[in-house]
């Protein structure tokens, strides 16, 4: 076959017109910075409204986003930039015999073709514990989609065609795709030099074998969770710009700026200070941006060509460009007294991490420590395993480790309820953990955990209206009109999820904030600067609210997140309100103290008798105030503070004991479903959630987190799965990997409680993840209620729900 002709316009920069290429959202500052900063680079944003902690002011980035002017990482543009592309392995396991790039390099419009031989520094990186992931594969490819070579060209289509001209000679090897074999069969070939076991974490409490002899009721089950994808809508993308000092300026969408740099710098052979990273607009994350994607690749191409290089994955590549949620195989056995009191739990959890370590260590830690959820069980044996295979690589996704276990332990609680003749809420209340109780790890719950009360509130919620067979949109199958109501049965189910908030097991995931107060244009203005990633969750809104509450000044400007300020940790583990919120609060209080000292000196009083409120310094006992602007004059007050949570302990490697978690959060769901039991179609009629968040910082944002988390749990229950056969992904597209649409999502009913955690800023409790845990088992329980089937695997497929398999 003859190759296609070169594209018209190759040899000149793609994206015509420097005049129009700057877009409409960049403002006048762009022109002045045009030589060093790309068009559509992030810029500081003034937070609208005047709301403090507890209010719901609009998002600072909301207006830009609804106008289409928010600068996402895929929108970056720079004069003379090239487009990068990645050649990926078609095989889950193969030996690379030879790579020939000569034909690709000769293709018109191509500026560079790189392989592992061109990696300037370390050839491996990794997010956690082990740096075992190659920048570009060499020797062996260990999963389908593993990056092998890179191209930079003047048009994305030219780059794609050049990829087709790279000749890679593979010797195809048999992939290891059976996680159980990887864990327990020492004769199977190792995927990694250190073997196939990433981590085995046991938890041992009491004497399970003795308790088994006393149990009046035993129940058991085997459960499976498929591979879920984060499916953020904004694919991996960014721009690398070579800098004059030999370093690189990176504009990317990530969850953790400083940890990216820590991994990128050694691979580029550069000191960390020569990498300047600015967070560009992030189109969702959900854990999928915690690992690196295009960061090192674009940097290598930029440093080699001396030109800015933009990389944007398409949807198919995105499915191979990030880690997924670990699939799990779980075996549970519970024993109890006849009245439903749990005596023992005997649990095995097996998590398939794919070829590289990524976050598997922490995922196993979560699955082990939260393996039986928020229930008091006197005798526990848990063995949680994470393994390497040649299946798709897995790592962080919302609720990691806890999501998989939650599906199993909640299914077990329903099974126990059935065996004891109790209703599902009562069996949970009988065994509910509460403040002062202990987790499986022996950690004492040191903050309110009103689970029994939350279950009671769920019990009292009104039920949705009965099925209306006259409305086809409300029936399973929807507009396909597969039923007029015949064969449709209603079911109700419940789920409870327990999630650790912030990083665990001894990790000090601190955050840093720089807060500056000065008079700009005659108005006192607070500038808040952190490296914390706004990924959609509304952190920038909360940062502005905290600044207003602490400093009594309405005008707050949020600066772009970058590494000119200290580490903020990751936007994961539901931790940023706690950690970066805490850092902003602490830095604001340091600024406030200096303002009050300044005012006291001018007024000749003691600073202890003054406070900041309503834009004024006022005597604490009341009386006339002085405007902050008058106190400050030309003085600029700036303070930078770190915020650390209380230290945590590692889990004992043999017993799993240890106070490993920073904070615990709980969500309870009730799901009501209508099921066409003949066709196996499910319509979720309503989802209700009760969640204790400690303190509501912003109700509108918070509700959005609970809604969105519940939706991802619904997806895992009913439709979302990366299907894999022999290590190959069968459905890497939005046509074949289904996520919930507005027709799949039911109306939601929320009941939000505020029992403060005295150790957390404002008493808050991280809120983003818990709803993702509990909605899945609640929906599956409701489908079981409607069908009477065991349903031990998610996502449910129609053939399961119709009882055909």
């Amino acid at each position: 076959m003859n190759g296609p002709a070169p594209l018209p316009g190759t040899g000149t920069p793609a994206g015509t017109g420097t005049g129009t290429g700057t877009g409409t959202g960049t403002g006048t500052a762009t022109a002045a910075r045009a030589r060093t900063a790309p068009a559509r680079a992030p810029r500081e944003i003034t937070a609208p409204g005047s709301g403090g902690v507890g209010d719901s002011p609009p998002r600072p980035d909301g207006t830009l986003k609804v106008r289409g002017e928010f600068a996402y990482s895929s929108d970056l543009w720079m004069d003379g930039m090239l487009w990068g592309a990645t050649l990926r392995s078609p095989h889950p396991r193969a030996r690379i015999v030879a790579v020939d790039v000569s034909e690709a390099l000769a293709h018109p419009g191509v500026a560079a073709v790189l392989t592992h031989e061109d990696v300037p520094g370390s050839k491996h990186f990794g997010i956690d514990h082990f740096q075992d992931q190659p920048v570009l594969a060499f020797g062996e490819v260990r999963h389908q989609g593993e990056p092998v070579a890179l191209v930079a060209a003047d048009h994305p289509e030219t780059a794609r065609r050049a990829l087709e001209r790279i000749r890679v000679d593979y010797e195809v090897l048999e992939p290891l795709t059976d996680a159980r074999r990887a864990a327990f069969d020492p004769s199977c070939p190792p995927v990694q030099p250190r073997g196939n076991l990433v981590r085995h974490q046991p938890v041992r409490v009491g004497d399970v074998d003795e308790a088994r002899t006393r149990a009046e009721v035993t129940v058991s089950g085997e459960y499976r969770v498929g591979i879920q994808d984060q499916a953020f809508l904004g694919p991996e993308s960014g721009l690398a710009v070579p800098a004059e000092d030999g370093g690189v300026d990176l504009y990317v969408a990530t969850q953790w700026v400083h940890n990216d740099i820590k991994q990128i710098a050694p691979c580029l052979g550069l000191p960390e200070e020569r990498i300047r990273m600015t967070l560009s607009g992030v189109g969702g994350a959900f854990g999928g941006r915690e690992d690196l994607s295009m960061q090192i690749h674009a940097s290598m191409l930029a440093l080699r060509t001396g030109r800015p290089v933009k990389m944007v994955y398409n949807r198919q590549e995105s499915f191979f460009g990030h880690v997924h949620r670990h699939p799990a195989e779980m075996r549970y056995e519970y024993g109890a007294t006849r009245d439903g009191r749990l005596l023992y739990a005997d649990v095995e959890i097996l998590l398939d991490g794919g070829a590289y370590t990524s976050s598997t260590m922490a995922v196993v830690g979560n699955a082990a420590s939260l393996g039986v959820g928020p229930y008091v069980i006197p005798n526990i044996r848990i063995d949680a395993y994470g393994v390497y295979t040649n299946n798709p690589p897995c790592g962080a996704m919302r609720g990691f480790g806890a999501v998989q276990a939650c599906f199993a332990y909640e299914s077990m609680m329903d099974r126990l309820a059935d065996a004891c003749g109790l209703d599902p809420l009562t069996v949970r209340q009988v065994n509910a953990l509460s403040e002062g109780g202990v987790l499986a790890t022996g950690q004492v719950v040191a903050a309110p955990l009103p689970m029994a009360e939350m279950l009671e509130r769920v019990r009292e919620l009104p039920m949705p209206a009965p099925l209306d067979a006259a409305d086809p949109l409300g029936l399973p199958g929807g507009v396909s009109q597969t039923t007029r109501g015949e064969g449709v049965r209603r079911g109700v189910g419940y789920g409870v999820g327990l999630k650790n908030i912030c990083f665990s097991e001894g990790f000090d995931d601190f955050s840093t904030a720089r807060v500056r107060l000065e008079v700009i244009g005659g108005r006192a203005t607070v500038l808040v600067h952190t490296a914390a990633a706004e990924v959609g969750q509304g952190l920038v809104t909360v940062q502005a609210q905290i600044a207003r509450t602490e400093l009594g000044v309405d005008r707050v400007v949020i600066q772009p997140a970058d590494n000119r300020v200290g580490d903020a940790g990751s936007s994961s583990a539901s931790r940023q309100s706690y950690m970066s919120g805490g850092a902003v609060m602490t830095a604001c209080r340091a600024v406030r103290d200096r303002v009050l000292a300044l005012a006291a000196a001018r007024l000749g009083t003691a600073p202890g008798g003054l406070c900041l409120a309503g834009g004024e310094v006022v005597p604490a006992g009341g009386g006339a105030g002085v405007a902050v602007e008058d106190v400050l004059g030309d003085t600029v007050i700036e303070e930078t503070r770190e915020y650390h949570h209380a230290p945590t302990e590692r889990m004992n490697p043999l017993t799993g004991q240890g106070a490993s978690h920073t904070q615990l959060a709980i969500c309870v769901h009730r799901a009501v479903v209508d099921v066409d039991v003949e066709l196996g179609l499910v319509k979720v009629v309503e989802l209700a959630a009760v969640q204790d968040v400690g303190r509501i910082l912003n109700r509108v944002s918070l509700e959005g987190q609970i809604h969105g988390g519940s939706a991802q749990g619904l997806g895992l229950a009913l439709m979302e799965e990366i299907q894999v056969r022999d290590g190959l992904v069968l459905n890497p597209s939005f046509t074949d990997y289904l996520i919930p649409t507005i027709l799949d999502m039911p109306p939601m009913r929320l009941d939000i409680l505020e029992n403060p955690d005295p150790r957390a800023p404002y008493g808050l409790r991280g809120a983003g993840e818990p709803p993702t845990l509990s909605s899945t088992p609640a929906i599956v329980a409701a489908v079981r209620d409607a069908t009477g089937l065991a349903l031990n695997r998610v996502p449910l497929r129609p053939e399961h729900v119709a009882g055909l398999t």
């Binding site: 409409t24 509108v700 969105g708 507005i742 999502m745 939601m748």
Partner: protein, 171 residues
Amino acid sequence: MRVTFTVNGRSETADDVWEGESLLYVLRERVGLPGSKNACEQGECGSCTVYLDGLPVCACLVAAGQAEGRTVRTVEGLADGDRLDPVQEAFAECGAVQCGFCTPGLVVQAHDLIERVPRPSDAEIREALAGNLCRCTGYEKILDAVRVAAARRAGADPVPYGGTPTPEERR
């Protein structure tokens, strides 16, 4: 090839367009309108929804050449200067925007719905927006935003948004 079309009231000409390029690529990379988003490039997600001669389409599924001589309106063309369209205003106010990547497409699609059906029912909103994927919000706040936008555009009392109503309050 050369493509000339009207976008947001302005005539644009793009030169050296490859025949395989989509309208979305031309908008984003050649005429400086990156508001329409590329999230799937196969018409599944609706993030690139624009008006083409007054009808909402996925710009990723329209070949650039098909836009020749036609009129396109993108999310950047909805506001009147600094004044947001009621749909945009309601999306920002009601929490319908989180990461915002789906927002441009949803705003255009919801705008079209309210043009056709001034006071849509919830079922009509769901049906109209069924082709637009959102991964962040679970869609509840998007429904709220469309209800609020429709009410305001119809001149009903502008009720300040205070959170998602319960199913009972909604009825």
